[in-house]
Amino acid sequence: MKNRIGPLLTYIYLLAFLVFLYAPVLAMMAMSFNRSPLYALPIQLDLRWFRALMNNKRLIQATGNSIVLALANMATATVIGTSASLALARYQFKAKKVLSVLLVPPIAIPWLILAVSMLLFFQLLGLGRSLSSMYVAHVAVSLPYAILVITARLAGSDSSLEEAAMSLGANPVITFLRITFPLMLPGVLAAALFSFTVSFDNFAISYFLAPPGVSTLPVEIYSAIRKGFTPEINAIATITFAVSMIMVLMADRLVRFD
């Protein structure tokens, strides 16, 4: 029916797009392993920039903050997201439609705007910049993602499975533990990974809400670039990129398969 040119063109064309998207990242990764601070070619393999990172106390401190914040956020967003998704999927109530429509847009509110409004809000509430403000804001930003991912997984499941379990004598608790939860687990894991990533990568909220003396990894990267672009940044960006990629690919796999 179709000739062979269509697929071939498409192939070349998508390949070009991916090269274009990944090339900068790959270049950055390559440079992080290059000895020369002036990006001289050919690349001389050297881990000096990574070693330099090890000695950068400020950066290690910031990375620690980012990880702690991301973990706390992940735990909170996943638990709340799971229960909210279950409630949305199982109960019929009048305001449900309104609620589920309202859940989507927060994903698209520019983080900068959200950060601005959170800063203002916490100031109005008298909380100001603090670790707890940061934590709350991160949860607010991740939760819609968590709910969307889990809801997508639940939509594929079938309430007749739970009915079958109950007709076999399983009470609601056993039904949840043996049927509902195992079936939604991939979605829950994916939501956890997404929540972690969303928080770990966030710059604007952390920047505006961080109390004096507290910093996170994205904030440090940003400051470092403003001070002057050093290959050390490539190294830390490479690590961040690798971690994000691994988490997202895992999440994607969990949502699609099994």
Binding site: D158, S160, L161, E163, A164, A165, M166, S167, L168, G169, A170, N171, P172, I174, T175, R178, I179, P182, L183
Partner: protein, 370 residues
């Protein structure tokens, strides 16, 4: 005493009645079928018994105890869903064992019971497969034994054969009936396939728009449908409208507008001069070419012949615009009367029954039948 009993059960969703004042008693060990078109409310009946929905009014009893206020997991009722609802994350063994493990039976007893049940449906050797590695028929059998393994008081089947193709469906009907007999469980089966209902069940309930319109043995429901809907939904019928011109112990005489005089069996509540509809089944109509004596006799021309393999269906134009459908078993190779043959159509008054008295509007069926 009846084993499963519905007492004036009504289920309303806003303005729509899925069940309207239904009373029904099913005996222990009985194979009961609920038949009706899609949307008639038959699945709602099952869900009321299983406990997934609660009646708006009325009560449900099993073995003399009221259960409509109990949650599904306390009712001890097995159910097989149309889509089987096998747990996709568990093997066949774990699916079947689920009900037993929930009851905390000991391991050995569980294993033995599973073996027994898988033997019953010839699925030994499939214990470790996942549901998606089984064929449709195998999945159906796993769903069945999963529901039976806990020895529930009642087995509910919600169009369990609907997803299978025709040949496999017929085969599974035989198996299902056999297993039900061996296990001896009280069974309620829901289907939209009237032939399936007749062949499987001890008794049939015909349901239409949430109302139980007729209840009886397959023979009663098929041979003596009490209204036009049943006569048309359970099997085919030829319908004749006319006026009662004689009424006595020997039966009823109806004269059609075109002057044909038809004789049927009497039933109560009829009176002379009343407008009624008579019905006769296609397989009760005999076709001949010679002269025959019979209660009912029409002459006509064969206009359509449909070969059905084990039988042949004839559409006969009886001259006055009406048509009669006749079904004949192919005792020899089929099609004794080609289209165009002049034939005599006869049937006995015992096969001919009144289905509607003073009907507000009897839909004119295509080709004299539907």
């Amino acid at each position: 005493m009846s084993y499963v009993r519905l007492d004036k059960v009504t289920k309303r969703y806003r303005e729509i009645y899925a069940a309207r004042n239904i009373s029904l008693a099913i005996e222990k060990g009985e194979f009961f079928c609920l038949v009706g078109p899609s949307g008639s409310g038959k699945t709602t009946m099952l869900r009321l018994i299983a406990g997934f929905v609660r009646p708006t009014a009325g009560r449900v009893y099993i073995d003399g105890r009221r259960i409509d206020d109990q949650p599904p997991y306390k009712r001890d009722v097995g159910i097989v869903f149309q889509n089987y609802a096998l747990f996709p994350h568990m093997s066949v063994r774990d699916n079947v064992a689920f009900g037993l493990r929930v009851r905390n039976l000991d391991r050995v007893a569980i294993d033995q019971r599973i073996e027994e049940m898988l033997d019953l449906v010839q699925l030994r050797g499939f214990e470790d497969r996942r549901p998606d590695e089984l064929s449709g028929g195998q999945q159906q059998r796993v769903a069945l034994v999963r529901a039976l393994v806990t020895r529930p008081r009642v087995l509910l089947l919600d169009e369990p054969l609907g997803a299978l193709d025709k040949k496999l469906r017929t085969q599974m009907q035989v198996e299902l009936k056999q297993i039900q007999r061996e296990v001896g469980i009280t069974t309620i089966f829901v289907t939209h396939d009237q032939e399936e209902a007749l062949s499987l069940s001890d008794r049939v309930g015909v349901i239409d728009k949430g109302v139980l319109v007729q209840l009886g043995s397959p023979t009663e429901v098929y041979e003596r449908p009490t209204n036009h809907f049943v006569a048309n939904f359970i099997g085919q019928s030829n319908f004749f409208k006319g006026e009662i011109t004689d009424l006595g112990d020997e039966g009823v005489v109806v004269t059609t507008p075109s002057g044909a005089v038809l004789r049927g069996s009497a039933r109560s509540g009829l009176s002379l001069g009343q407008q009624v509809t008579l019905a006769v089944r296609p397989e009760k109509v005999r076709l001949t070419t010679g002269d025959v004596e019979a209660h009912n006799r029409l002459e006509g021309t064969v206009v359509h012949v449909t070969y059905l393999g084990n039988s042949t269906s004839y559409v006969i134009d009886s001259g006055d615009g009406g048509t009669v459908v006749a079904l004949q078993q192919n005792l020899l190779a089929g099609g004794a009367y080609p289209a165009g043959t002049e034939v005599v159509v006869t049937w006995s008054k015992e096969s001919c029954f009144v289905v509607a008295a003073n009907p507000a509007r009897v839909p004119q069926p295509r080709q004299g039948s539907e």
